[in-house]
Amino acid sequence: MSTETTSDTSNVEGETGIRLDSVLTVAERYWLPVWTGLVFLFLYAPIAVLIVFSFEQGTFSSLPWDGFTTQWYAEMANDTRLIRATMNSLRVGVVVTIGATILGTLGAIALVRSDFRGQGLFRGLIIAPMTIPGLILGIALLLWFNILNINTSLQTVMIGQLVFVTPFVVITVSARLRGFDPQLEEAARDLGASKWQTYRRVTLPILMPGIISGALFAFTLSFDDFLIAFFTSGVQNTLPIYIWSKIQHGTDPVINAISTMVLLFSIALIVASELIRRR
């Protein structure tokens, strides 16, 4: 400690106020990591609170702590409406993921490999749905389905989610696609592979990590979506809508338990996706 201080101050010796300087040096050196730590604290505060209070005995999530219990998890497991909403979310998520992965992968190939007039427009159209607030898209889709005389249901939720989820797949896959040499494909073609064989044996395997992580992103986005589902689901609930309606009826520790499960599920998905992407 003392040696470090002397070595620090030796640099600025001769200038005024060595004491103040060394304080400033310490502050300058440590404010960044301290700031980073505080931001992480901020990011995880609500998550930690939910997990901690899902095991709290009292019905109010407040301090001091009343005691440990797992009764909220037991209550959660017996909630049939919750289970049905979860199943709906999973069903929608699977369909959206399959659809978005196929459309998005094809779209990425178009974005990276084609060279045509209006490419900028195509790119804009791909990016715009990611940046438009879900609220605007939600009400616009509601109006659209109404005009087209389509009854809102889980099917319309799937279509709506596909609109903003697919661009994320395009972005993930096209990043991977940019990183690989088109000459590999040309070489395969030169060696007599058909267009389809080239896709299946060369392009697809190289793209796979991008596609899988895109698919996991797609699933997470669909599973977490509230606004599109809120406006286009009709009478059917998805999990976020169910959580939402439960929160509207007041605080209930079961929500903490449900939230904790949702958190753990999302964390597992994102960690899996990152591991695959960074491979």
């Binding site: 715009a128 889709l141 709506g160």
Partner: protein
């Protein structure tokens, strides 16, 4: 079919290539194009159109009037909602920049071997359900919540702090919280690309830390900064969950739109509000998109 192009002159060859490539485009880019035209462009256009209608007996009547659009600016609740929302969105964006910049810089420059781990730690809140996370804040900030009960228990305060929740403050806090990763990630990807040698060279030439930041780091981080600003500002303008859950009765565009669609039962008015919001969003995108590359942040 375009046969082998190897003997042809280069001009016809590029034309053939172009035709072949655009053929491929319809097969690959066609489906997503169709999806987005049919269920993205179409709905947005119809929203502008329905805003000119009128709602009578729960049915849309073609009145073709601009009175809903006018009402967005003349109705005091609507106008106040837009003023509040814009103010909070600007404040949120500025806060997000201030909070995220040193954070992203630290991870990009000094993350070292823990860089990937730190990034995943940023991604986890980014990809977990935002209703759930805002509910976490509701528990923290509520009048009988974690923060107040802890402070009372410790004897710091006697009465709960009333401005923690259901105020403009809580909307600002909630939005900053929610969109922070959208600022961190693009900033990180710009900062991470900066060549360490440039910074070293500047120091060697006698530049101060401030000069290095102002002349090298900041200019090179502009694309990430702009990307973050686009996302945070637009998402704050269009927020619904935060004002609805922890914003109390504060007038906000998002909750206003939901109200006109739900209890208000006035779809054209809601469509007009949504259309004006959409124009603001498009304007921001149009102005700022050229300075960034949004694709690179994911």
């Amino acid at each position: 079919m375009p046969a082998d192009p190897n003997k042809n002159e280069s001009k016809s060859r590029t034309i053939i290539n172009r035709v072949r490539r655009s053929d491929g485009f319809l097969a690959t880019g066609g489906p997503i194009l169709l999806l987005e035209l049919l269920f993205f462009v179409g709905p947005l256009l119809i929203m502008f159109f329905i805003a000119t209608m009128r709602m009578e007996n729960l049915a849309l009547e073609p009145a073709y009037t601009l009175e809903n659009y006018v009402g967005v600016f003349t109705g005091s609740a609507n106008r106040l909602a837009f003023v509040n929302t814009t103010m909070i969105a600007v404040l949120t964006t500025v806060t997000a920049v201030v909070v995220a910049y040193p954070f992203a810089y630290y991870i990009a420059r000094f993350g070292g071997q823990y860089q990937n781990l730190l990034l995943i730690l940023v991604m986890i809140p980014f990809w977990t359900n935002y209703i759930v996370r805002i509910y976490g804040w509701q528990i923290i900030l509520g009048s009988r919540g974690v923060l107040n009960s802890a402070l009372i228990w410790m004897g710091v305060i006697n009465e709960p702090i009333s401005w923690l929740i259901n105020t403009k403050f809580s909307i600002w806090l909630g939005l900053t919280y929610l969109w922070l990763p959208f600022m961190v990630l693009p900033l990180y990807s710009s900062l991470e690309k900066i060549d360490e040698d440039l910074i070293e060279a500047a120091y060697d030439l006698g530049a101060s830390r401030l000069a290095v930041f102002r002349r090298i780091v900041l200019p090179l981080s502009i694309p990430g900064l702009v990307g973050g600003i686009i996302f945070v500002f637009i998402f704050s303008m269009g927020a619904y969950i935060v004002p609805a859950m922890i914003g109390g009765g504060e007038l906000f565009v998002g909750t206003r739109i939901e109200y006109t669609f739900g209890i208000g039962g006035n779809w054209p008015m809601g469509a007009a509000l949504g259309s004006v919001l959409m124009l603001i969003v498009a304007g921001v995108l149009w102005t700022l998109m050229g300075y960034t590359n949004v694709e690179e942040m994911f």
